[in-house]
């Protein structure tokens, strides 16, 4: 029902998109109703579209509610602070994709819908095309997502179609291809070059849509597809494959953090921090251990929320700077929220990102000292990068703590941070559904 609602409302809002006063509230209302429908649905409730089954799992419910709320926060910011009428139907389309990807139980169908979702924001990436390189950035994103998407889809189709008596090496190779395909889509290092151009040229709200909503969904979809595709038992038998998965994740964690320390603007800092966190999340999933999987998925979700908070604040700070360097004096509330978002991206206590990061680092140490040390160094580098930018924002002092006029990003970011704090104070509600998924994942990994 929520899927049908979102999918049906997207074209309606597309037709009404130029009447922002109608399109924006309608989008928010649709997202609110869809979120409520998912939140109130009973566990394991299932339905069918043609013969494709959709089932609500505890993780599916948690992730859908979290991602639709983040989506609503971005829509609110676009409506009140940075009107872009094409954004509203895109947001509903992305909402429908989030619901479909997290509820579908057929891996090939899940992957196809995921690919559609990752292409939807392309329209939002381009703006004022004669003044910037946003078209080039969008084309590069299109190329990377198409390449990663189709390679992964082919690997999955082959894995499904090959008889089980084929050589083990074929399935192992398919898992590696699938992993590289997801790395391309997530823009983790070394497949991150298009993300740098996107960070520089695309609007902050479009970046929030991609890095705040779609990348966390992709990480969860990766774990879900691996589990449903019955490829997992092939991986366990070869430790070298696991080393490769952990190596790419670790490289991205530390590489993203290094790039963040050299970031010259706010948006690039956020994007590099997200790349680092996604690397850490992939390490978590790649450990194939309960705490690692719980930590990896928790990091992905918390990173999405914090990245949205920082990107919306960065957009406001840049607009108020009028071409000069962003300063807290022009938008104190947005600056405060930006700094608070950094706490979430670093995974410092007491925000909800902390337990996830703690679990992953712990499991990384249990695998290899170098891997654990790399993740800790990545966290320290992110801390330095965030502090450097925070000091830069407040370098000219703050004449007054009075909030700026129309502090939309400040209020929205404040609400996101409050939710992350609440999650950190009572982490059980957040981690328990992920733990249920991890248990299922481990059962698929080592079937009796």
């Amino acid at each position: 029902m929520p899927l049908q609602l979102l999918a049906a409302m997207a074209p309606i809002v597309f037709l009404l998109r130029k009447r922002v006063v109608i399109a924006a509230p309608l989008t928010l209302l649709t997202l609110a109703v869809a979120t409520a429908l998912v939140a109130l649905a009973p566990d394991a409730a299932s339905s069918q579209i043609l013969s494709l089954q959709l089932t609500i799992t505890p993780l599916g419910r948690l992730a859908i509610v979290a991602l639709l709320v983040i989506l609503a926060a971005i829509v609110l910011d676009v409506w009140l602070d940075e009107p872009a009428y094409n954004f509203f139907p895109t947001a509903l389309g992305v909402g429908a994709v989030v619901v479909a990807v997290l509820l579908l139980t057929t891996p090939l169908a899940t992957y196809s819908i995921l690919l559609v979702g990752l292409l939807l924001p392309v329209g939002s990436f381009t703006f004022q095309i004669h003044r910037n390189r946003s078209v080039e950035a969008a084309i590069r994103h299109f190329a990377f997502v198409s390449l990663g998407g189709t390679i992964g889809l082919a690997a999955l189709a082959l894995a499904e179609s090959l008889p089980r008596d084929q050589p083990q090496s074929t399935f192992v190779l398919l898992v590696v291809v699938l992993y590289v395909a997801f790395a391309l889509k997530l823009a983790v290092i070394p497949f991150h070059t298009h993300a740098a151009l996107l960070a520089a040229e695309a609007p902050a709200t479009a970046l929030a849509l991609f890095f705040g909503v779609l990348t966390p969904m992709t990480v969860i979809a990766f774990a879900q597809i691996l589990m449903q595709s019955a490829l997992l038992p092939s991986i366990v038998q070869l430790t070298k494959v696991q080393d490769l998965l952990l190596g790419i994740g670790g490289l991205s964690a530390i590489g993203g953090a290094l790039l963040a320390t050299g970031a010259t603007d706010l948006r690039r800092l956020v994007v590099c921090s997200v790349i680092s966190d996604l690397g850490m999340a992939l390490v978590g999933v790649g450990t194939f251990s309960g705490p690692g999987i719980v930590g990896g998925i928790a990091i992905a979700l918390a990173t999405g929320a914090s990245a949205t908070q920082q990107l919306l604040a960065a957009g406001t700070l840049e607009r108020r700077a009028d071409g000069g360097p962003p300063r807290a004096a022009r938008a104190p509330m947005a600056a405060a929220v930006f700094v608070a978002g950094g706490i979430g991206l670093i995974g410092a206590p007491p925000v909800v990102a902390f337990p996830g990061r703690f679990y992953v680092e712990l499991m990384a140490y249990s695998f290899a000292t170098w891997l654990g040390a790399a993740l800790v160094i990545a966290t320290v580098l992110l801390l330095i990068a965030q502090l450097r930018v925070a000091f830069g924002l407040f370098s000219e002092g703050l004449p007054s703590w009075r909030p700026e006029r129309r502090p939309v990003a400040g209020v929205v970011g404040g609400l996101i941070f409050a939710a992350l704090l609440a999650g950190g104070i009572a982490p059980d509600a957040f981690l328990r559904p992920i733990a249920a998924f991890a248990e299922e994942f481990l059962r698929a990994l080592r079937p009796l």
Partner: protein, 194 residues
């Protein structure tokens, strides 16, 4: 085997075309040849979905061209992409083919649904698409590469268990979304250039 040659030839024509409208027509020919190759493993409903998806994707690119002149000269990229595809196809086939004890019959003329022929066609399309995507500079060749790869995926999916029609529809939607996104970027890229 003749159909396999048709897939290879139409792919090369699509890759070598300098006009977008010609590329779109050549892609439609690729789509038809690929679907005929796997006709034995395709139901009537699936064939209808695949035909509509191929037609829609090429139609979208055809309209996006706006006139017969617009396109992207592949230049050296055509040769590099072809070379990569020629090397990658046997490598992919050797690594991922279905290994059976039976020796497949490779008929010259009739439409042949033997797994080996369908897999070779799929790997050729995937390799060509990857090579075109990797060497692409603009939206035209990026769209073409992605669409060729999706055509290859559709071939591989014929042998996957599960709800075939639903999966065909899902990937057909991806094909249409890729074509729409490509068309959007082609129009924007042209606006920037002009």
């Amino acid at each position: 085997m003749v159909l396999l040659a048709a897939v290879a030839l139409t792919t090369l024509i699509a890759s070598g075309a300098t006009r977008l409208r010609f590329t779109a027509l050549a892609f439609f020919a690729v789509s038809i040849a690929a679907n005929v190759i796997a006709a034995g493993a395709t139901t009537a409903a699936q064939a209808a979905v695949l035909a509509v998806a191929g037609l829609a994707a090429s139609g979208i690119l055809f309209v996006a061209a706006r006139d017969g002149e617009y396109g992207e000269d592949p230049g050296w990229r055509l040769w590099v992409a072809t070379l990569i595809a020629v090397v990658a196809t046997p490598a992919a086939f050797a690594s991922f083919r279905t290994i059976t004890a039976d020796v497949p019959e490779l008929a010259l003329f009739p439409s042949d649904n033997a797994t080996v022929v369908v897999q070779v066609a799929a790997f050729w399309l995937l390799s060509s698409g990857t090579a075109i995507l990797v060497t692409a500079r603009g939206a035209v060749r990026t769209s073409l590469g992605a669409l060729l790869m999706l055509t290859g995926v559709q071939l591989l999916m014929r042998y996957a268990p599960g709800p075939q029609l639903e999966l065909t529809i899902a990937v057909a939607w991806v094909e249409v979304v890729v074509a729409l996104t490509g068309a959007f970027l082609i129009v924007n890229e042209r606006a920037v250039r002009e």
